[in-house]
């Protein structure tokens, strides 16, 4: 498979997943606010700032706005054409990458990503408000689920499909670390946090990861911060836990190269395998010992490292030297060194 094709499949998948995650985070936060007493600007700000940190947009956002309110955060993260992480731009980027590899993906996949693109191009903030943001967010989430389902159901599960999985799980793991990191203060028990308000928050975080029902089923218990952390990081079977994502990512990388477990043929496999082992042999106490914030930063550094290693191993081909006898041409076209498409997020660890 062409490196360029693998690159486009990977980013097509990442951007679709990102759009879904942003829709879910916004949706949950809006619903959370409905459960709280009427909020002044200061309270609104405390509720929206973690959202902006989760998506990695807090720096960019405050260049345009003084205060974070429901209206301006939603505008910024849904249809704002200047924000590379707005849902509009994520879906556009996903579709643009799909267009690049249209002959590689199934017709059904193309039509679905093209449909959601045409749909979001036709949206306005007014429309979103009128029909209720819930409707808008559920359209985005459903489109992503449909796209992933169509991908699994209509595409050959070969190397190209595996690159789609790599993109999807890397993005998902990344987003889960960001959500936990952005909300780390509410895991530190403060006397001011009442039990009810705390439960609301922790539940909101679970719902941001689509994991509320799974959590209940797994623990059959109250929502407690420790268990929330344990579930979202270390659960073996929940498809959005970091451990599950790391495992799936590692599996996909091994299918691509044909390298068996416990071995590695490139840096990406080495780092992914190491991360899986670490998560497999970790418990909640280990996280608490280092502290949530440090632990999440460390995870993000590792995930970024895997992303960069994948890029070096598969997606990027260094320009080859030209035959000496020929006159020297213009500088070779193509990608600059480093990951080819901007991640569009400030790395928390940076």
């Amino acid at each position: 498979m062409l490196s360029r094709v693998a690159d486009s499949l990977y980013w097509m998948s990442r951007y679709a997943e990102r759009a879904e995650n942003i829709a879910r985070i916004l949706d949950v936060n809006l619903q959370l606010m409905l459960d709280l007493p009427k909020l002044g600007p200061a309270e609104q700000k405390t509720l929206w700032e973690p959202v902006l940190r989760s998506t990695g947009d807090h720096v960019d956002f405050f260049e345009y706005h003084k205060e974070a309110s429901s209206d301006n955060v939603i505008e910024f993260l849904t249809l704002n054409p200047k924000n590379p992480n707005s849902i509009l731009n994520c879906l556009t980027a996903s579709r643009e990458n799909a267009r690049h590899v249209r002959e590689q993906i199934s017709l059904e996949m193309w039509e679905e990503i093209n449909r959601i693109y045409l749909w979001i191009k036709s949206q306005t903030l007014k429309k979103i408000v009128r029909q209720g943001p819930y409707e808008f967010f559920s359209q985005v989430k459903n489109a992503s689920h449909l796209f992933q389902g169509i991908t699994d159901g209509t595409m050959t599960h070969g190397e190209d499909w595996d690159f789609i999985q790599v993109g999807k799980y890397l993005e998902r793991a990344d987003m889960t670390t960001r959500i936990l990191d952005a909300n780390d203060e509410i895991f530190v028990s403060k006397p001011a946090v009442t039990q009810t308000a705390g439960t609301l928050h922790w539940s909101a975080i679970l719902r941001s990861c689509s994991s509320h029902d799974s959590y209940r089923k797994f623990y059959v218990a109250q929502v407690e911060p420790d268990k929330v952390v344990e579930f979202l990081i270390l659960n073996e079977f929940f498809p959005r836990s970091i451990r599950f994502c790391a495992q799936s990512l590692n599996d996909a990388l091994r299918r691509i190269s044909g390298c068996k477990e416990e071995h590695f043929t490139n840096l990406a496999e080495k780092l992914a395998g190491r991360l899986v082992s670490e998560l497999n042999y970790s418990a909640l106490e280990d996280i608490k010992t280092v502290g949530m914030h440090t632990y999440m930063d460390d995870l993000q550094i590792k995930l970024n490292g895997i992303g960069e290693a994948i890029f070096q191993a598969y997606l990027f081909s260094p320009p080859l030297p030209l035959p000496e006898s020929e006159p020297k041409p213009e500088p070779a076209p193509g990608k600059a060194q480093g990951q080819s498409q901007k991640q569009g997020k400030a790395t928390a660890a940076a």
Binding site: M1, L2, S3, R4, V5, A6, E96, R99, H100, R102, E103, L107, W110, E111, N114, R115, L118, E159, I256, Y314, L315, S317, L320, L322, P323, E326, P327, P329, E330, A332, P333, G334, K335
Partner: protein
């Protein structure tokens, strides 16, 4: 009232009507079925087809628009029909023409007999913008230069077919032909059986066969064929990706290919993989910055060297543009006589060369009656339609012609045939042309029909999509009615 009751063919050759109310026999079944539709039904089907094109992303990019707007290529639901006997003659004429053009290319890049015997003046060849001296004495696989040709044909007031130009570089539009057929089958499924329409869907298979046929012998089992595109922002990108998908081959950009030891490879996730045939949708100028335009970032450094060494095949060959030149066009009937000792089956449109002083005099004094074209432009650019021009446009062209006579030719303004087309809720006559697609591999084959382009603007003679043109499905019948 039925849909076509108030239709006036006007003072033109109308494809469907011999005279007002008098339907040509090969349109009879279609006409009858259309008359049973009411306006609302027709409008619904039209909207369904447009929506399907948009959903499938069958669009082209509008260059002038900063938003990168994608538009669908307007599609007219009334198909153009060609009876079998008429098609058989067109087919024979196009095959003859392509054989002659190909022998011409082989000749001018090797022995130049046609120049020595003074059939074509040497100046006209050397001055052709797309003549490539780099191709002198370079053997091309199986001596075929133009593998894919898209000739433009028109009919005059009497209904006679003329070849207007031979597109022997990178003719585009075949994907629209194929998609138009799919759309028509969805919109009018029952019509096809009752009318008896020859299929077109085998085109991509035939194209792949040609591309494999011309591959250099490599000792491996099956040749690797790729399609080279300028990239996603090219207005024909949809077509490139469509053809690659239909053939099941890789679509590559220049940056995906690399030349090592005069062999071409693509960069894959598993390392380098050798390429045998490149179906390039990139003009000669951009192919290789080491040989042609130095500023091309779309091409592959070293590609021409690999091609000359016989390690990779290109379709079409480099240097075919000389046969595409509108000055050289004038000599095609002479080429047919010279190389094949046959009389041309299809006529050329009479052509005046501004480089000939006598003809130039005629051109500049009859600008209001002629169509002037620059020798190497395409897409309907660089053109003056005399009868529709203003005084200042003519003055402007006169100056341009006198400044660079080699670059201009003129032809009488043809009264192009018209076809009923659906415009703003009613049927009106609009001018049409026909672009058949010809493939040259082990033998020459043409898919029945071609792309019928229609000038949807009232009175317009320009069918190009960049100038408000649309297209129609083209039906070649099994029989004659």
């Amino acid at each position: 009232m039925a849909l076509l009751d108030k239709y006036h063919p006007g003072d033109f050759f109308d494809e469907m009507f011999a005279a007002e109310g008098e339907v040509r026999p090969h349109y009879a079944t279609l006409h009858e079925r259309f008359q049973q539709l009411d306006r609302e039904e027709f409008e619904q089907r039209r909207q369904a087809v447009d929506a399907a094109f948009l959903r499938q992303g069958i669009t082209f990019t509008v260059y002038s628009d900063e938003q990168g707007t994608e538009r669908i290529f307007p599609f007219d639901l009334v198909p153009r029909i060609i009876p079998n006997a008429e098609w058989t003659k067109i087919e024979a004429g196009l095959v003859q023409r392509l054989r002659a053009l190909n022998l011409f290319l082989k000749d001018i890049y090797f022995d130049q007999r046609i120049i020595k015997e003074k059939v074509v003046p040497v100046e006209d060849i050397i001055s052709a913008k797309h003549y490539r001296p780099e191709m002198r004495h370079v053997e091309v696989p199986r001596d075929i230069y133009i593998h894919i040709c898209g000739s433009d044909m028109v009919r005059d007031r009497e209904g006679t077919y003329f070849v207007l130009e031979d597109n022997g570089r990178c003719p585009s539009g075949v994907s629209y032909l194929l998609e138009n057929r799919v759309a028509m089958k969805r919109a009018f499924p029952n019509l096809f059986g009752s009318v008896g329409v020859r299929p077109v869907a085998h085109y991509t298979q035939d194209l792949l066969t040609v591309l494999q046929y011309i591959a250099p012998p490599n000792g491996r089992n099956s040749p690797t064929v790729v399609l080279l595109t300028p990239g996603i922002y090219n207005s024909a990108y949809f077509e490139h990706s469509f053809l690659a998908r239909q053939m099941g081959i890789q679509i590559v950009e220049g940056q995906d290919l690399v030349v090592r030891d005069k062999k071409v490879y693509m960069r894959t996730t598993k390392g380098l993989e050798q390429v045998d045939t490149i179906y390039r949708r990139l003009d000669d100028d951009f192919l290789d910055p080491l040989v042609f335009r130095k500023d091309s970032i779309l091409g592959v450094p070293g590609l021409v060297e690999a091609y000359r060494a016989g390690n990779v095949s290109l379709a079409n060959a480099i240097g075919t543009g000389v046969a595409d030149d509108k000055v050289i066009y004038k000599y095609v009937p002479d080429m047919i006589r010279f190389y094949l000792s046959e009389e041309p089956i299809l006529a050329n449109v009479p052509t005046y060369l501004a480089s000939n002083p006598k003809e130039c005099e005629y051109i500049v004094t009859h600008l209001d009656k002629l169509v002037v074209k620059s020798a190497n432009e395409s897409g309907g650019y660089g053109m003056l339609v005399g009868p529709a021009s203003t005084h200042s446009q003519r003055a402007d062209f006169k100056a341009k012609i006198l400044e660079n006579p080699r670059n201009f030719i003129a032809q009488p303004t043809l009264n192009l045939s018209r076809h009923p087309s659906y415009c703003d809720g009613k049927f009106e006559g609009r001018h049409v042309d026909l672009r058949p697609y010809i493939l040259y591999g082990e033998k020459i084959s043409i898919i029945p029909g071609g792309l019928t382009r229609v000038a949807l603007r009232k009175g317009s003679l320009v069918v190009n999509s960049s100038q408000g043109g649309g297209s129609k499905d083209t039906w070649v019948l099994y029989g004659d009615s």
